[in-house]
Amino acid sequence: MQTSPSPTISITYNDRVVRQFMLAAILWGVVAMTFGAIVAFMLNFWQINGGIYLFGKQWSIEWITFGRLRPLHTNAAIFAFVGNMMFAGIYHSTQRLVRARLASDWLSSIHFWGWQAIIVAAAITLPLGLSRGKEYAELIWPLNVAVTVIWVIFAINFFWTLARRNEPTLYVAIWFYIATIITVALLYVVNHLSLPTSLLHSYPVFGGVQDALVQWWYGHNAVAFFLTTPILGIMYYYVPKAVNRPVYSYRLSVIHFWSLVFIYIWAGPHHLLNTALPPWLQYLGMTFSLMLWAPSWGGMLNGLLTMKGAWDRMREDPIMKFFAVGITAYGMATFEGPLLAIKSVNALGHYTDWIIGHVHGGTLGWNGFMAAGMFYWLAPRLWNRPLYSRSLANFHFWIGLVGILLYVLAMWVSGITQGLMLNALNDSGTSLAYSNFLETLNAIRPLMFFRAIGGTLYLIGFILLAYNIYRTVTGAETVSTTVEVPRRTEPDQQGFKGSLLNPPVIYTSLIIIFACMWMLGGGFFLLTGLFGTIFTVLLAILHFQAGGRRWSQWYEKLLANSLGFTVLTFASVAIGGAIQIIPTVMVNRAANLEGRIQRVLTPLELAGRDIYIAEGCYNCHSQMIRMLKPDVMRYGDYSRLGESIYDYPFQWGSRRIGPDLAREGGFRSNDWHFDHFMDPRAISSAGSAAALPWMGHGSNMPAYPWLARKKIDVDALPSKIRTLRTLGVPFPDWTEDEIRAQVEAQALEIARDLQSKDRFLEPNSQMTAVIAYLQQLGLNEEVR
């Protein structure tokens, strides 16, 4: 926009908060990746899982089991590492793209210190076993409140800055930041709705299939809007800056932005394929994942083709290398995602290491390398001193790249191997080819080991980055850029109404409404929807051909109106979630049963269930027998919706490092479970030794001797049961004494049974509760 000479103002950017976030991101990055390497090695060496093996004896430490530290690794990687990196990138680039200092230094500071405080609190509570039991949403409810408050502060600071901008229109990076801020807020709040039972514990308001759907709507879109869209925004600023070339295609930006934010939200159910989830949701999850492929690759193309013409600089410049490989990894991961979302491929890959490989291709490649490129680019500019060592940065790149390749290849082979073994039948087709789960674990042990090595190489590379940046910035003089910019005089060009009431928005809304009527309705709705969709599409095409130029003018005006843009973005992301979740949440419970209803837990079993969640058992054990022949043959009849209807939160799981437990109840004896908790390897091992003896051939589950030592928190049960009654679980209206008496009676029964087999367990120990819980898994009543 060329405007007549207007008064200029001098702006000093707030680069202090950018430096803070960047250094915090590096620090937490080292922490998150270190924990990643530790939990990876735990799966190979039980000696460090839940304790330390020294002097021929296992010294148990409850805070360091895989089940408790894996959430620490994932939360640290997502919220601490990528979170801080994202804030640094967004604050740095937004100030420059809108030519305004951050609206409030005070809010910026609260944002920074509040976020770090949350991270520290998470790092303390997760090893203590304080967990909500939902993946990437484990933090306890007081921390959820804190995250929400800080996120709102971030949003206020950001949108206030946009309001004070001196750049009339919004650049594509800002679009992605807007989508990030509003969508993460929406996802986070809905998936963290809980009823507290105490200061440290709560139950989610959704249970069973509803919770499963909400959780993976969140889980999938946390990847989309926490790990993808902000980094795409960062790509759109730092890549053209680093290569000093124009962005490849503006119209590709427009198309891929809107298709990405609209389609991404629908794809969540692909995490629940072949389960008891109603089929229509599974089909939506699969087809929208396939449709997501092109929009994702639009981002990759715009990134890579912007670098075209500057490839020769790749040889010298580590930043270029990191960006090129980061964007390529994004392309790989977003091709693999739709592939894994195909139901038949998912039958093989789900619950295996393939998924772990897929995720790490994205996080190590895309997030980690984009972060590294951005840090190396920012450090000299924020501290006014050249990078300490370019060759060290190049070495970081190569060791990191080898790490990623080793990691991802090992996980591909591991996942496909284990998937094939678990699904294989013998020649006559009457039984499993690998009947002992541990045979499949032994097959992937060497691959898991290579993964741990790959992850460690990557960690070493990142530590080199930390050292390099440390040497660059210590003693350096910090700079905050000051620029002279023309002051924006003209107000927003088009009112709020004008952003919404115009042909493109009206056509799109009509097409979506008609398409939904057609897809989801029956009879009259179906026909109206079908013809309405076709008619509106044709009309839109004709209108566009007649006056398409005006449409792009409209879009340019929209870019000058941040409120209108934000509202449209919110509408695009809200539709998918609303259509999938609202019918499932509103539906009458009876329609969600499939002929069976879960038995309500006894108080002791409920106590056991909460310990199961606190210990993070769901990180390795699913409770969902999929509608697949090998699953049914291995674990029993496939799971019905009604069988988890009272599970707050649901425990369907996402990875089977150990076997499924949906029908574990009554499958083995109490003394088997006792022995297994005290020393899993004593009773769970494969007959044949592994190819490499030092890798072991028994279970890799940690021993849980503290469960025999620690007491059940009976006092907490009345409040828990009251809360679950509020949520609709038909517990009888027990008094506190009745609850206490029931706990004691059932615990005594288990302790007596163990005693008759020469095993001695205090009746009020946590282990009796967990055994009671495990022994009822799969109990249900027929209905109708």
Partner: protein
Amino acid sequence: MDDPSIKREPKDKGVTLLEHSYDGIQEFDQKLPNWWLFTLYGAILFSIAYWLVVHQVLQGTRDTLLLENELAQVEARRIEETVKLLDDANLLELSRNPEFVAAGSQVFMTNQCATCHGADLRSGPGMVGVNLVDSEWKHGGNPISIFNTITQGVASAGMPRHEGILSPTAIAQVTAYVLSMQEPTQP
């Protein structure tokens, strides 16, 4: 450069560099690559077709029916295989066949039987399973009873079910192995 008369050939021509610039960043306005548009439209068309066929025509019943059919077939084959084996005399006969017994021993060792019953089948102090070589049988000691105990499991005693996990033949092999290991009954 191209012939100037061919105006609309997009190479470097026809690519506009947009006027605006944000913090020095400019944008080309390249056309969307055709192959990219093809994947976008292709995926949308496939999704519509998939939805029409699988959801609206087949009504989503396909998965349940397929699975139930598959399971019924497995069950039929399993019964067929079981009927051939299930006969006390036959199982006793098999327990004297060294190859069959060796196969049973292999199954026994790889499937965690030994972790509860002991590698020598004699159980032992602190072990979950019972002694399998003495003459005492809790759930029936004739070959068919042993076969059934392994197949169905005994929930109250913590003996897991092996139906579907092991084939009838494998269960017969284990039965034969257990029978072959019986200590001679005391006179």
